[in-house]
Symmetry: C2
Subunit: 188 residues, 2 copies
DNA sequence: CGCCGAGTTGAACTGAATCAAGAAACGTGG
DNA sequence: CCACGTTTCTTGATTCAGTTCAACTCGGCG
């Protein structure tokens, strides 16, 4: 659980007391490669910190499943839309590898927000950064061709290209697996 | 300024004292149609509430200006990326109509966050909702064709279609003005 | 060994871009 | 209030990025 503390310390100082209060609400969970962490239609119960593993975010659909995000080691992961609104999720989270995560449930997090100043600050900071990341992605989708988006992934997040099956990457950058296969051929 | 209070009251209750503290930091500003509110390269000083008027968000470029957002009456408006990070803005805000806005500057907002519980809550709430809106837009860009995105605008935000020049709408849904003109012809 | 899913490749097709030109609407000054 | 220039919108012809459908290769695994 030290990884969570290290993560928080990058953002703001926190007293021992605050850390004990916050950390007491996290519990450990384990998932196998391929398992679904959060199902479409369920209400997201947990905000989770990834100790190890990779998560894929996708909208399931018999014909045309849509992958739109990945999370890695030492990041928080969550079906935020559902978690924030406490409505059923429109998408799913799947473990792409075996995983270990640390979870805090919705009500405990509300307690942290209500009872610690630092919790509230961290919550706002997290939401702001999620917003900034999505803004960047919006511009990427509007501004660049699929080929350019793929090349940008190399620079910004090579981990995605190294560790994730092509078909999911294709969906993530908004094209078909065949389309991405052709783009790759052009590049080499 | 009553509109701001009404807006806040939709989100959470607030004491008279808190309201007086918060509202004392807002100042009134006026812009003429076509004026630039926040310039690219400048650091965003203000978070602003729109009393009346329409704002366009865009990345200026001699060749290919990119419009990616609009704000209307009784919404907050801001170059958030710049405001949150206090780095120079990569985009601009322009008044599409004559406007009246109420502004709070960065340092005063930090005071509000530091000194009122309700301010912090409102800040987190705002960031979370900005995130949710961008998430929705991400999916719209990945999932639908330009034609479908245009039709969705009718349902979700007809104000945009009624009040905003076609060339900006085209950019917003990710196509050229010529492209949108053709799509329109198909629909009628 | 044979099966299955992931990735590649080819051919025909499509949505949207680009280039170019004309029509309509808009704003400003006389 | 009209006339003129500018901007916005439309339309046509051509090009291009990426899709779709289909067939094939490759590697992992029971």
């Amino acid at each position: 659980m030290g990884h969570i503390r290290a993560y928080y310390e990058q953002i703001t100082r926190m007293s021992e007391e605050e850390w004990l209060f916050i950390s007491s609400h996290f519990t450990r969970r384990v998932f196998k490669k391929g398992e679904v962490i959060t199902k479409k239609g369920d209400i997201e119960k947990y905000l989770s910190f990834i100790e190890s593993g990779i998560v894929r975010y996708y909208i399931p659909d018999v014909e045309n499943e849509l992958t739109f995000h990945f999370c890695f080691d030492r990041e928080f992961t969550c079906a935020y839309d559902s978690f924030l609104s406490q409505n059923p999720s429109e998408y799913e989270l799947q473990a792409l590898t075996n995983m270990v995560i640390w979870c805090i449930n919705y009500h405990d997090l509300q307690k942290v927000y209500a009872q610690t100043k630092v919790g509230n600050y961290l919550g706002r900071f997290a939401a702001e950064n999620l917003y900034l990341a999505k803004s960047k992605r919006e511009l990427s989708l509007l501004k660049y061709t699929a080929k350019q988006r793929y090349l940008n992934l190399f620079d910004e997040n090579p981990e995605i290209i190294e560790k994730i099956p092509l078909k999911y990457i294709a969906s993530y950058i908004g094209i078909t697996p065949q389309g991405l296969s052709r783009i790759r051929k052009q590049i080499i």
